[in-house]
Symmetry: C2
Subunit: 157 residues, 2 copies
DNA sequence: CTCATTGGTCAAGCAGCTTGACCATAGAGG
DNA sequence: CCTCTATGGTCAAGCTGCTTGACCAATGAG
């Protein structure tokens, strides 16, 4: 583990301030996206579902893939998919290359919801642009990408 | 709601990339802090407890304050405090100015855990400094503070 | 003194996740 | 071709953290 808090320039209090800022930004963003999705008429969805949509959107995924992506058991992922199917956002199709597996894909309604989330995210980010300016926001994004290249994009706490 | 996605310079895909970066940074940070706290010998704590510690650390707080801070009911907050008390991290003291209320304060063990979290956060941030440099990290913090001044620092999804 | 408000707890219920068991298919090795 | 283990998926039961609802004690304004 780290043995040096002594020769570091960054104080613990600074680290906490940065951490709080990152968590506040993430929390506010999640909240705004969720509110925007609800405002566009998609109800009965929790933010956690958004992370599933993000994984399903490109080409669909198996339940096991989804479970790994969300950091939960495949049973839990399967239940989550059940819920999405029941609400009409996704459907299970036979996997083209593996008779054991089933490919979970978004329905048109699910894709519409994904677009709504994108719009809501763009709206939230626009508020950031109003404060910082476009260049600063892009710089922010680039630095965050460099700093958290493969962080878990999922409910983490 | 927003009617213009047309005259905005920021594309939806950019907004999603930024959102993903922020969430990845927050998720990674939370994970690292939690791991650091565990590595320093504090077990049986979930990240959610960290947000409670942050509110209790300065001068203690009432259960109702804590509930508002964490965005949950006071019953849930009370249960969380029960758990912290049972594990020796906090204790309930009579409130000096209100006989109805009880002031929840950290024990020495709770303060030690708070310090451990600060060290873990500093450690995680040092990894960011290694990538970006100290000035960039400070700039990152300043911009995030400007963008999310009062975001919810708590489990949000 | 009265009474609506506020801080806190007890109790029951629910939602989301976990563990454990099980079945069907896949794919590697005789 | 046949095992036999590994893998994808589901069913069932249980737990944990949170919610709602009811209630009591103390507060403070009238």
């Amino acid at each position: 583990m780290s043995q040096g808090c002594f020769n570091a320039h960054v104080q613990n209090s600074d680290a906490m301030a940065l951490s709080a800022a990152v968590l506040a930004a993430a929390g506010g963003l999640t909240q705004r996206i969720h509110e925007g999705v609800v405002a566009r008429g998609f109800e009965g969805l929790r933010p956690a579902h958004g992370f599933a949509f993000a994984r399903l959107a490109p080409d669909g995924a198996t339940v096991t893939d989804l479970a790994a992506h969300l950091g939960m058991t495949k049973q839990a992922a399967s239940q989550l998919v059940d819920e999405l199917v029941r609400k009409g956002y996704a459907e299970r199709r036979p996997h083209p290359a593996d008779a054991r597996a089933r490919l979970v894909v978004l329905t048109e309604s699910g894709r519409a919801c994904t677009r709504a989330a994108e719009e809501a995210a763009a709206e939230a980010v626009r508020a950031w642009v109003d404060v910082l300016g476009e260049g600063e926001v892009q710089a922010l994004r680039d630095r965050l990408v460099r700093v958290a290249p493969n962080g878990p994009v999922r409910p983490a706490w």
